[in-house]
């Protein structure tokens, strides 16, 4: 239930209260709430867990009620609502929607993203309903609807964009031809125009008749939106346009219909100002609608991967149904070339599946019964059937899309400045316009006006303009040029492009703040096992003594270890298998605890183990000692092999480096990032691995629970630290780091902790994530500098700073052109981020 007000001015709100278990709890909650100022009645229901509070709106607010309940130890849960908000055009619109929603009782936070056209709202469950939030946004002049997901969202978004484009196209068709005719008519008596422009086109009534539809039809949207906002105390750039167009058109109309009214008469009609101003603003709107959707292309690409239909077996029949109708447990049939509709487990058949779009694995992956398949991947060769295990919003693709969308709906800390400026800008600009007007009215006109005055880039003379008209012109131009639309697009459009670029490479930023933080990193701490190394031992070296061959030594060791379940034994068996060696069965296998194993093959005794095992069996290993010590110094586990009481060689086993670990570490160091390795392993092994990678700082013998403390120590040195590790085991360290990077998360990304999730198990993506973060922040800085520079330079020019020296002023239509170009050029600059390629790029989608 929503917060509602009755005829006596009392409001009622229903709060959800969790944690109450008895009548005493009910009494405590009721008593506490009743003590709050303005609360006239409280009714708490234990069974439903609801508290209905009646209160005077002038007293305690909902936030105080919630705090009071929470102080008692109960929980008032919050819910999240994701909306699509259409019709926003600048940072002031964002501030307006956020302010309107945050003012609603029960809403705790609202974050609006302009390019994503989204609003993420948190509110106390039960305190307000979704319809109320949507209607509040509608009331301030925008169109709010619940955000859809998947292909439906894609279709709806496309439809809405086309509708906006068609609307602005229609406005362009009205505004531009008429505005050009008005301009030609206004300058009919100048240059070569008298030779081919008919005289009637210069008639003021004809000009007025052509200007009127331009100002009132394409311009109507600005009057409508600004009035909707103004009556609720909110302003946005529509108001700047409305006052600009309104003032220019009103003066033109007065000077046409009542030339003796004293506003400058027929010589100061400024029809072209009113018409071209509207035309340029509409052009800006059209260009924005055209380019804005492109920054969210990554999401669109991901959504487009989803299969639309699925073939399922139900009641023995194969049916073709919509992919979103597949239920968990359904048997799904997939043929060659088809896209897999949902996640599942293969039950029958064999095929190879291209999973590049999700995991980045470039080689098709073989699928046999028992193998997992991922929705949106493409079946290449054979047919198979699988049992659906995750459908709808639970599929890997849906989780990835949600994570990218959530990230794009957040705000980077750097955006706060832009939001603050934009939020206070409109009132500030009007105050400035008032100051400009008063200055030129009382001081400037008398001091500087000359009859030879002109607009910049225009032959139009201002000789007949009086003090009021002149001051008004400069005031209107200041309003028009000051629009903060570029400021509103600067940060979120780059964040969208950056997070989208990340998703293309299997790098999921959890929020805009992760993008910003990743750009500032100067230290990266890698967990060793499973991150830099494979996390499982494998055979690295085989050293045979004279009289034996390497493969023979390996085969003997593998045969001896075949019955063993020890990880080192398994590594040796896998090593022999990888060499294609035949591993025959042995007799009398014996695991000798702390020493090794013993087995008999063809009546010969094989021994595999440490020095002590050899000593106990009186086997001389003197000629193996130098190699043995060398392997141990490298951090490897070296095992001695003997056959029939004669030393045969050494097998060295170690956790091996991941394929691209060295490249990634080298690249990070070149980027000026300090690389640190952290591990629970002994120092010798840790140093050996670090030595192979060129890592100078090693934190060895660190217990899992101490990793976060080590990260903190690095942060205390002033470093901005990223921790790269397993998203589950390293959670505390990931949380402590400035940026937690969970690597190799696979497809169940929703479970991961960390600020950045790397889908693939590829260390190079750490480099890519930092590079994308840096590129995105670079773009944001460029955009903000451009947006601030535009306004900082544009406003003094529009206010007439050059006029005393040049006799020239900026016309309102030129101001509108600059304004439109500032947002378009900024959007185009952001789109350049699409061409950015990380240096170790491994493109996914």
């Amino acid at each position: 239930m929503d917060a509602a007000v009755d005829g006596q001015g009392l409001a009622t709100v229903t709060l959800t209260v969790q944690g109450m278990s008895c009548a005493a709890c009910v009494a405590r909650v009721e008593k506490t709430l009743k003590q709050l100022s303005g609360v006239t009645g409280v009714h708490v229901n234990l069974l439903t867990g609801k508290a209905v509070v009646e209160y005077h709106p002038g007293g305690a607010g909902i936030a105080e009620m919630v705090n009071a309940v929470r102080d008692l130890g109960y929980e008032v849960p919050e819910e999240e609502l994701l909306l699509t908000v259409r019709g926003m055009s600048c940072a002031a619109c964002v501030a307006r929607v956020e302010r309107a929603v945050r003012a609603l009782p029960g809403v705790t936070d609202a974050v609006v993203n302009l390019p994503a056209e989204s609003a993420k709202i948190r509110y106390y469950a039960g305190a307000i309903d979704k319809a109320r939030i949507k209607s509040e946004i509608d009331a301030v002049g925008y169109e709010a609807s619940e955000r859809l997901t998947g292909s439906e969202a894609l279709d709806r978004e496309k439809e809405a964009r086309l509708k906006e484009l068609r609307y602005q196209q229609r406005n362009m068709w009205i505004a531009w031809p008429l505005a050009i005719l008005v301009m030609v008519g206004m300058f009919r008596d100048t240059w070569i125009f008298p030779y081919f422009v008919p005289k009637f086109l210069g008639n003021v009534y004809v000009l007025w008749a052509m200007t009127t539809p331009v100002a009132l039809i394409p311009g109507w949207q600005f009057f409508k939106h600004s009035w909707n906002g103004l009556k609720r105390g909110a302003t946005d750039m529509n108001l700047l346009y409305a006052t600009g167009i309104g003032a220019a058109y009103t003066i033109a109309t007065i000077n046409t219909l009542w030339p003796d009214a004293g506003f400058g008469g027929r010589g100061a009609t400024f029809f072209e100002s009113a018409a071209l101003l509207t035309a340029f603003i509409v052009l800006g709107r059209y260009m924005e609608a055209l380019t804005r959707g492109r920054t969210s292309e990554a999401i669109r690409k991901l959504i487009s991967l989803q299969a639309r239909t699925a073939h399922v077996i139900r009641e023995g029949q194969e049916l073709e149904i919509a992919a979103d109708e597949v239920r968990i447990g359904d048997i799904v049939v997939v043929r060659p070339g088809e896209s897999i509709p949902v996640d599942g487990e293969v039950t029958v058949g064999y095929s190879a599946v291209d999973e590049a779009m999700i995991t980045g694995e470039s080689i098709p992956v073989e699928k046999r019964p028992g193998a997992q398949v991922i929705g949106a991947t493409i079946n290449k060769t054979g047919s198979f059937r699988f049992k659906a295990t995750r459908v709808g919003g639970e599929t890997a693709l849906a989780q990835i899309i949600k994570m990218v969308e959530d990230a794009q709906a957040t705000k980077a800390p750097i955006q706060k400045l832009a939001d603050f400026v934009a939020g206070h800008f409109i009132a500030g600009v009007h105050a400035l316009a008032l100051t400009v007007f008063l200055f030129w009215f009382f001081v400037g006109y008398d001091a500087f006006f000359t009859p030879g005055s002109h607009f910049i880039l225009s032959p139009y003379s201002l000789s007949q303009v009086g003090v009021f008209g002149f001051a008004l012109l400069l005031s209107v131009t200041t309003l028009v040029i000051s629009c903060p639309c570029a400021l509103g697009l600067a940060t979120p459009s780059a964040v969208m492009a950056g997070t989208g670029k990340g998703a293309e490479h299997g790098i999921l930023f959890k929020g805009a703040d992760s993008v910003e933080s990743s750009s500032r990193l100067n230290a990266v701490v890698f967990d060793k096992t499973g991150t830099l190394t494979r996390g499982e031992p494998s055979v690295t070296d085989v050293y045979p003594l004279p009289g034996f061959e390497g493969n023979e030594v390996l085969r003997l060791a593998a045969m001896a270890e075949k019955p063993s379940e020890h990880p080192l034994g398994e590594a040796i068996v896998h090593g022999a298998e990888a060499q294609g060696l035949t591993i025959e069965d042995v007799k009398d296998f014996e695991a000798i605890t702390g020493h090794g194993v013993r087995a008999v093959y063809q009546d010969k005794v094989i021994l595999l183990g440490n020095r002590r095992l050899m000593q106990q069996n009186n086997i001389s290993i003197e000629n193996l000692t130098p190699e043995l010590e060398k392997f141990e110094a490298e951090g490897k586990t070296a095992m001695l092999v003997a056959l029939d009481n004669q030393a045969a060689g050494i097998i060295a086993v170690a956790d091996t480096l991941k394929e691209n670990a060295g490249i990634a570490v080298e690249r990070l160091q070149k980027m000026g990032v300090q690389v640190v390795m952290i591990t629970g392993d002994n120092r010798r092994t840790a140093n050996a691995i670090a030595g192979q990678l060129g890592i100078k700082t090693v934190l060895a013998e660190v217990l899992p629970q101490e990793k976060a403390t080590e990260i903190k120590k690095l942060q205390d040195q002033g470093l901005k630290v990223a921790m790269v590790g397993d998203g589950i085991n390293d959670a505390p360290a990931l949380a402590q780091a400035d940026v937690g990077i969970a690597i190799g998360s696979g497809t169940d990304v929703a479970k991961e902790t960390g600020d950045i999730i790397l889908i693939k198990d590829d260390v190079r993506d750490v480099v890519n994530a930092i590079e994308i973060g840096r590129a995105t922040m670079g773009k944001i800085r460029q955009n903000l500098v451009w947006a601030f520079a535009y306004n900082t330079l544009g406003i003094p020019l529009a206010a007439g700073i050059l006029y005393p020296f040049t006799g020239l002023i900026v016309s309102p239509e030129l101001a509108a052109f600059f304004m439109a170009m500032s947002s378009v050029s900024l959007t185009l600059n952001t789109l350049l981020l699409k061409r950015f390629k990380p240096s170790l790029g491994t493109r996914v989608a």
């Binding site: 209160y55 105390g233 008032l434």
Partner: protein, 72 residues
């Protein structure tokens, strides 16, 4: 909630209108006090423009403050 909105509007209108009218009158007074000879149209046009801008400046300042008081 519309009752609260109405109450907000009722309380706000006199404030921002009053501020804007005062600004216009101050403008008018200034046109006489400066000693310059402005036409009646300049004076009236200026007053209207000052009134519009003052309304636009004061409405977003006044309404949220009043709403906050009304909604608590």
């Amino acid at each position: 909630m519309s009752i609260l909105e109405d109450r907000t509007a009722r309380r706000s209108i006199p404030i921002y209108t009053g501020v804007s009218v005062t600004m216009s009158l101050l403008f008018l007074a200034a046109t006489f006090l400066t000693g310059k000879s402005y036409t009646a149209v300049s004076r009236v046009g200026g007053m209207i423009w000052v009134f519009i801008l003052s309304m636009i400046i004061s409405m977003p300042i006044v309404i949220p403050k009043i709403r906050k008081k009304v909604l608590g």
